[in-house]
Structure formats: structure tokens, C-alpha cells
């Protein structure tokens, strides 16, 4: 039977390409869902020394085809070698980068093996029921997304768009096996004669790797005007990119084009200047962390995908912006604050803050993030820290490793507990989860996989739950002779009602994300690849409002919920009143509304 997820690793001139690491990251999560292994296939001349690195990035096995014929990419020798590997190993899934090499090679191989091939995918996941690979890809110039499967033919093959998947953290402790695979290749396999390799204009920067991009479109008017973008890029340590209109006009190199037929980028900052925001352009930049657009037309579609839009003339604003940045830098203000601040002293959770959003990641992926006492303690200490941290507005809680949010409590730790110890553990967990619920920040759970037992209870302790379509929910305690004891019986019944909570707890049946959405256990379900983006967008949307009001509303709902209706109204009345006090935002918000301007909330 066919098995394992194969990644065809791309190297150019002996250098592994970033897309190879991205594919290994994605393959790892697919392989986990299938309970299979990740096999990296590495082809080239004198290339074996790179095998270790592929293991560090997620490969369980590396198959090396080392042959002088494979020195520079040519279709036939590569197709022959890979076909031999796929056939010998009976692969279940084979992934290629959707680069100009991958898209030349993969269709040739698919026609040789006579199996299906899905092009230029931006999302992959395993259907939980059929175990088939579901491949999501854009078509019709990015206007349509299609989900494609290959039911009866093996392997299931796809090319995957570079820049879309996430590589794993490099782990030099990871181990795996390396196999040298012999393929009889000779000069005769070269069906074309390579006369010359001509490097493209030497110093073209790789815009997919840039942290910040300053991007220009037709609105720049002429090639010379790219100068002001280059000058701005210099002070921001950014690269310059462009829309296709600017590239087609010959103002800038094609290597810098963003979009459907250009590069897909996901920088920290994408500053779009004089770009209208056509769907083919947006397809390449919508995953940027922060999008700011400058456009003179109020109706430009780019504003629809921007975190901040400014209606105005780029020729005036861009030079001024550069001056402001230089000034800010020379004023000695410490603007170079690290974007990621690690909270030390934690082992089982990761904690960092970025742009006012804190991320709490339950980090025991090998135990499916099961909650033990130490993990609960660390969640508690993060909550304590946040209680007084005004700089953080939203907390996102998530699980590490792609498979589970939190798959339950640590059973081994609970096996030998006396009744007194059991009572104490439940009280402790209840206290930690109640602390989380009572935080002044808005707490969003991003649920990527299993949320079982204590995991479902942790998710319910958050204010809002966003789930990946592959998430699963359940309260399996009665299988173990227990009942939910980390707030589960109380919260679940209040959240989904009497009948559904009892059905979940009594039958221990696992719910799909769709079913969880239907009964109100989660609030949004998104494709797996959109989980963090949707969650972050939701956080940013909340943060663009009056945070004082948002927090008061949270308090009113939280405190009112366990009360009688009439008493709840008193809480509401109290919180509402605070909006009108000096410290409230009501005055500014309503004045701005009347004056038809953007409110400046404190």
C-alpha cells in the first residue's frame, strides 16, 4: 500500500530553496494526520551534505540521488530520477514547489506515472473521514478558489505556491535516516543540450524574504519616480516591489512583481503606493502582517484589504514620511524595540507579544499539548502578568505543533491522586481558567486541532473561539471514570445548553468543527491555512475600536451572565455610565461621529 508524504526538495547551484523548508513544515502536519512519515527527496551533484538540514526542518527520512547529471536542472534527468524514487517507494503524497522548476517537472512526472496533479496550491489538508488530500488552489486569475482531490490514483501530487506554507522551527536535535538512492543516469538522458547558464541581473533582491516592502504601482507615473520609494525603503530597511502595471511599463524588474503572476509575499509591512488593488495583485500580498495603502482615489479596492488606508497624493506623502522616519530615528527615541519579547521562566508554554497582541502557545506538541500541573501553573502566571499589562490588548491562545490545541489533561499525573489531591487539582485548574476569563484583555482561542477534555475547557475559558475546519471537540472524561472538572460541566452547559452539553459529556462523541459551530461551541470556522490570519485580523479589528468600551462590554457580559436578568441590567448600567466618565471614550467617539472624522480613542 502506498504510504508517506514525499517532498521534492529544490536546490539551485547547491543551495536549498526556501520553498523546500516550507513544504517540509506542511508535510509534517499532513503526515501526522495520516500517521505516516515525511520523506525528503534531494537531487543534485555532491548534495548529500544537505540531508541533515532537511531532517532539522521536519524530514523523517531523506532520499538522496547524487549524480553529476543532476548538477543543473534539466527536465528529463530529474523526471527520470524522481519517477524511479516514487515507484520504488510507492509514495502516497508527493509535493513540489510551484516554481518554474516544479511546474515544469511535476506535470511531466504526472503524465509518466499517469496520476493526477493539482497546480499551485495554497492550502492542503487531510480529509478526516476519507484520509484523502484536499488541495485548495486559486484559478481564474485568483477570482475563484477550488478544492481538488485525487481519489483513486496514487500518488496524490501537488505543486505548492512558494511563500504560503510555514516552515517548522529548525531543531538541530531532530534525527532521521538518510538513504543514498542509485538511479542509472547518463549524458544520454539529457534530451536537450545545455549551452549556457545566464544568471539574471546580479543583485535582484528576493522580495519574498524582505521584512518590509515598499510597493509602487501605475500611480507612480514614471520610472524615475521609483526613486522616492527606494529612498524610503532605505531608511526603513525595506525592499521595493511593484504591481504588474509598473512592471509591464518597464519601470522596474519583473522579479519584483507581487501578485498572481508575480511573487507571493508576507512581510511584516506592505506599503502600497499608487496601487489600485486588483484581485491578482491582492492574491500576492494579502498575507502581509500590516498593510498600509496610499492612494488618491477614495474608492481604490486596495483600501478593502488594508489595515490603514490614506487617501492622498503619494508624491507628497512618501517624501514626508521618509523625513519623519529619519527624524524619529535621530531624535534618539528608542523605536528599535524588539517586535518579539520572550517571557522567560516558562517551559511548557511560549509567550510573546507582537503589535499589542500577546500569543500564549501551549507547547508540548509531542504530548498533544496535554495539560499537566506545570502547564496550568504557567498559564496562571501568564494571566497574572497580563492582569496589569496595559500594553497588551488581545491575547491569542493556541496549541503548538499543528495537530492539537490541547488534547486533554495529563492522565499519568492524575492516576494516583487521593480524593483530597483530586479536589485540590480541580480547584487549582478552575482558578487558573477563571483568571483567564476575567482578564481585562480580550482572549481569543485559535483552535487548530483536538480540543478535548481540559483543552475544550481551556477554549471555553477564552472570550471567542476561532476553529480550523480540522479541529475536533470533545469531553471524554466519563471514558476514564471521571467527569469534566476544570470548569467544563458549568461552562459547557451555559455555552451550548442543557441537552448538547449532556450529549457531549455522556456519549463522549467528538464533534467536528462544523458541528461545534452549529451548537455555538465555536464562533468561526475557517480553512486550516486561514486560522492565524483570521484570528489576528479579528484581534486587529477589535483593537481598532475603543478598547475602553470593548473591555467594559466584556465586563458587563461576564459579570452579568451568572446573575438574574434584572441584576445583570444593573451591571450593564454601571459599565455604560463609565463610558461617559472622564476616562471613557464616549465623548470622543460620538463627537468624531458627528464631525465625520476618524475617532482618536485613548
Amino acid at each position: 500500500m502506498s504510504k508517506n508524504v514525499f517532498v521534492i526538495c529544490e536546490q539551485r547551484s547547491g543551495i536549498l530553496q526556501p520553498v523546500s523548508f516550507e513544504l517540509l513544515g506542511e508535510a509534517s502536519s499532513l503526515a501526522k494526520d495520516l500517521n505516516q512519515r515525511v520523506v525528503a527527496v534531494l537531487l543534485g551533484d555532491n548534495i548529500a551534505s544537505h540531508a541533515e538540514e532537511l531532517i532539522h526542518y521536519g524530514a523523517d527520512e531523506v532520499i538522496v540521488v547524487d549524480n553529476p547529471t543532476l548538477k543543473e536542472y534539466l527536465t528529463e534527468p530529474y523526471a527520470k530520477a524522481i519517477t524511479a524514487v516514487i515507484k520504488a517507494k510507492d509514495a502516497e503524497i508527493v509535493l513540489f514547489g510551484a516554481t518554474s522548476i516544479g511546474r515544469d517537472l511535476a506535470p511531466r512526472i504526472s503524465a509518466r506515472i499517469k496520476t493526477g496533479l493539482t497546480a499551485d496550491c495554497t492550502g492542503l489538508n487531510i480529509d478526516p473521514d476519507t484520509k484523502l488530500l484536499m488541495m485548495t488552489r486559486p484559478a481564474f486569475g485568483g477570482n475563484l478558489m477550488a478544492v481538488i482531490r485525487c481519489k483513486d490514483h496514487r500518488p496524490q501530487m501537488a505543486t505548492v505556491r512558494p511563500g504560503v506554507m510555514q516552515p517548522m522551527e529548525k531543531d538541530t536535535e531532530r534525527t532521521g535516516s538518510v538513504e543514498n538512492f542509485e538511479v542509472a543516469l547518463s549524458e544520454a538522458d539529457k534530451t536537450v543540450e545545455l549551452l549556457e547558464v545566464i544568471p539574471k541581473s546580479k543583485t535582484v533582491a528576493d522580495i519574498t524574504q524582505a521584512k518590509c516592502l515598499i510597493s509602487g504601482g501605475r500611480g507612480l507615473g514614471k520610472a524615475e519616480n521609483f526613486k522616492i520609494l527606494r529612498e524610503l525603503a532605505e531608511v526603513l530597511d525595506a525592499e521595493v516591489s511593484a504591481s504588474r502595471a509598473a512592471v509591464d511599463a518597464g519601470w522596474i524588474d519583473k522579479e519584483r512583481q507581487v501578485g498572481q503572476t508575480g511573487k507571493t509575499v508576507r512581510p511584516e509591512l506592505y506599503l502600497a503606493c499608487g496601487i489600485s488593488g486588483a484581485i491578482q495583485h491582492v492574491a500576492g500580498m494579502e498575507n502581509a502582517n500590516l498593510v498600509i495603502a496610499i492612494n488618491k482615489s477614495e474608492t481604490a479596492p486596495i483600501f478593502g484589504v488594508s489595515d490603514l488606508g490614506v487617501v492622498g497624493d503619494l508624491h507628497v506623502i512618501v517624501p514626508k514620511l521618509r523625513e519623519a522616519i529619519i527624524k524619529a530615528k535621530s531624535a534618539g527615541i528608542d523605536y528599535k524595540a524588539p517586535s518579539v519579547e520572550q517571557y522567560v521562566g516558562l517551559e511548557n508554554v511560549l509567550y510573546h507579544v507582537q503589535n499589542g497582541i500577546a500569543y500564549l502557545t501551549i507547547n508540548r506538541p509531542n504530548q498533544l499539548n496535554a495539560l499537566n500541573r506545570k502547564t496550568l501553573t504557567e498559564i496562571g502566571s501568564v494571566a497574572d502578568k497580563l492582569m496589569n499589562d496595559e500594553s497588551v490588548k488581545v491575547l491569542i491562545v493556541r496549541g503548538a505543533g499543528g495537530r492539537a490545541f490541547v488534547a486533554g489533561a495529563d492522565i499519568k499525573e492524575m492516576q494516583e491522586l487521593t480524593p483530597e489531591e483530586g479536589k485540590e487539582l480541580s480547584a487549582f485548574a478552575q482558578q487558573v481558567f477563571s483568571k483567564l476569563k476575567a482578564l481585562p484583555q480580550i482572549v481569543i482561542a485559535a483552535i487548530n486541532g483536538y480540543a478535548l477534555g481540559g483543552g475544550n475547557e481551556l477554549a471555553m475559558a477564552c472570550d471567542i473561539r476561532v476553529a480550523s475546519s480540522r479541529a475536533k471537540f470533545g469531553q471524554p472524561e466519563v471514558n476514564l471514570g471521571l467527569i469534566p472538572g476544570f470548569t467544563g460541566t458549568q461552562r459547557l452547559s451555559r455555552l451550548v445548553g442543557d441537552g448538547d452539553s449532556k450529549r457531549m459529556i455522556f456519549t463522549t462523541e467528538m464533534l467536528s468543527a462544523e458541528e461545534a459551530l452549529r451548537i455555538g461551541l465555536v464562533n468561526v470556522v475557517v480553512p486550516p491555512e486561514g486560522l492565524m490570519r483570521t484570528t489576528r485580523d479579528m484581534a486587529l479589528k477589535i483593537m481598532s475600536k475603543s478598547m475602553i468600551s470593548v473591555k467594559l462590554a466584556k465586563r458587563s457580559i461576564n459579570e452579568g451572565l451568572p446573575l438574574e436578568f434584572q441584576q445583570g441590567l444593573l451591571v450593564e448600567n454601571d459599565c455604560w455610565t463609565k463610558c461617559f466618565e472622564e476616562s471613557g471614550d464616549g465623548k470622543e467617539g460620538m463627537t468624531a461621529f458627528v464631525e465625520k472624522r476618524q475617532a482618536k480613542f485613548s
Binding site: P107, T118, G141, V147, K151, L195, E268, G312
Partner: protein, 263 residues
């Protein structure tokens, strides 16, 4: 030299819009065109014909009877003859099945050099060209930007992201054309008149049945299928500030950059 150009009739995706109520593609009333890369292929083929005496250019398209329009346009640009591969048994083919059918037809038609476009703007897979080459057992060179003919072979410039290859490839072979290969000429009045007089050869399932395994074509013969499709959810919108002075605009941007620790 017998030159073939495979052309696909496609909706002009520039004009495709989304119905905001149903969130689906509006397909009716969208103009259809010859796939842009294929037009570069036609132009390159016509240029080669000019350089190599005794050459002919045949355009081939698989599709519904309406695809005849695309073939007529190609004839009007100056191509010598046209073949329409059409039959309901071919409907619903994925790229593997499509390439199997086109390759079967090409075996019957004969060829020395085949052009396809790199990528069709509707299906957007860029797979059909290399797959045809594999079925025919001939070498392929994709992303071709320049062609110089030699006796029995071509020297071509092939584009990658970071480099070019200059390659010599023996005939018969298949090249996939990109926009940079050639700027297509317009139809001429004479061309249109000539084209009207030309017959378009139709190849249906019967015509190919001796070389086609029915299990490898159409919806049933396609390994991949589209399970569902949807239009993309737009990213949520942030604030749009208007009526600001340039200085206020700069302040607003600086505040945002500062907040994100980018300055």
C-alpha cells in the same frame, strides 16, 4: 517544418466579476479570447515559418463547437489550417485527460514542432504542455523567451526566476510560450477574408477512438476533480483616512508603524 500551435479559448479573466449576492463567478456575458500565452505561440510560429521555407502552421484547439471562433481568429492572423477537437466524451477532462486527448490528435495530425502557452488564464495550471510532451515522448522546454532555428534543431532561451538557460533542442519537441516570446500581430482584413474560405477540420471521439483508451478521457478518466469552489473571503478592512493634510497623513502612518515596532 510542420509547426503546431495548441490554443485554448478562455474567458477574459480581467472581466470576470463576482456576484456579491451568491458569491459565485459571473460567467455569462464574459468575452472569450485566445489565451494570451497561446497568442505569443502563434506569433512565434508564424515568424519561424517566415524563416524556414516550406513550413506550415496548424492551430489545434480542444473545446466545445464555439472554440471555432478562436481558431478562425488564428487563421485570420495567418495560420495555414485549423483542427477542432470536440466531443461530449471529452467534457470534464482534467489536465491529464486533456493532454492525453490532444496528444492522440497530434499523433494523427503529425508535427515537427509544437507550441503551447505556458499557462491558460482560466484553469491556470500550466500543466497541459509538459504532459502532451510526455505522452508524445518528445523533449519539452517551458518558459521560452527566444528561439533561433538551426537545421533539425532550435536554440532557445528558457526563463527561470533567477537565471536563463540557453539550450539546444532537437526536433521534434514541444515549447511552452510566455508573453515575452513574441508580441502577437493583429488580424488583417485579407487574413479574415482568407480565413473565411478555409475549412476547419473537426476531430471527434470517433476520429480518435483507435488511439484513445476511453478510460483515460473525460470526467471519468480524470484522476483529479474539483470537489467544490468558492470565492475568496476578502480580508477585513481597516480604517481609511481621507481629507487629511500630508502632515496628518504622515502622522497617522507613523503612529501605525510605531505601534508595530517598525520604526
Amino acid at each position: 517544418m510542420k509547426i503546431i500551435v495548441c490554443i485554448k479559448q478562455v474567458p477574459d479573466t480581467n472581466e470576470v466579476t463576482i456576484d456579491p449576492d451568491t458569491n459565485t463567478l459571473v460567467r455569462t456575458g464574459i468575452p472569450v479570447i485566445i489565451n494570451p500565452d497561446d497568442k505569443s505561440g502563434i506569433e512565434a510560429a508564424l515568424t519561424l515559418r517566415g524563416k524556414i521555407p516550406g513550413s506550415t502552421v496548424t492551430v489545434v484547439s480542444m473545446g466545445p463547437p464555439q472554440a471555432e471562433m478562436a481558431l478562425r481568429e488564428a487563421l485570420s492572423m495567418g495560420c495555414d489550417d485549423a483542427v477542432l477537437i470536440s466531443g461530449r466524451q471529452f467534457g470534464g477532462s482534467d489536465t491529464l485527460a486533456t493532454s492525453t486527448i490532444i496528444a492522440a490528435a497530434l499523433k494523427k495530425i503529425g508535427f515537427d514542432l509544437i507550441f503551447t502557452g505556458r499557462q491558460a488564464i482560466d484553469g491556470d495550471t500550466a500543466q497541459v504542455g509538459p504532459q502532451i510532451a510526455e505522452h508524445l515522448g518528445i523533449p519539452q522546454v517551458s518558459y521560452v523567451e527566444e528561439i533561433t532555428p538551426e537545421t533539425d534543431s532550435l536554440v532557445v532561451l528558457r526563463q527561470f526566476e533567477d537565471r536563463y538557460h540557453r539550450l539546444r533542442v532537437k526536433l521534434p519537441c514541444l515549447l511552452t510560450a510566455i508573453k515575452d516570446l513574441a508580441e502577437p500581430r493583429f488580424m488583417t482584413v485579407e487574413g479574415i477574408v482568407d480565413a473565411d474560405e478555409k475549412q476547419i477540420r473537426i476531430m471527434d471521439y470517433e476520429a480518435l477512438s483507435d488511439v484513445l483508451d476511453p478510460k483515460t478521457i473525460g470526467l471519468k478518466g480524470s484522476p483529479t476533480n474539483v470537489v467544490r469552489s468558492f470565492t475568496k473571503e476578502p480580508k477585513s478592512q481597516g480604517a481609511v483616512l481621507k481629507g487629511l493634510t500630508a502632515d496628518e497623513a504622515v502622522d497617522a502612518i507613523m503612529a501605525r508603524l510605531h505601534e508595530s515596532h517598525l520604526v
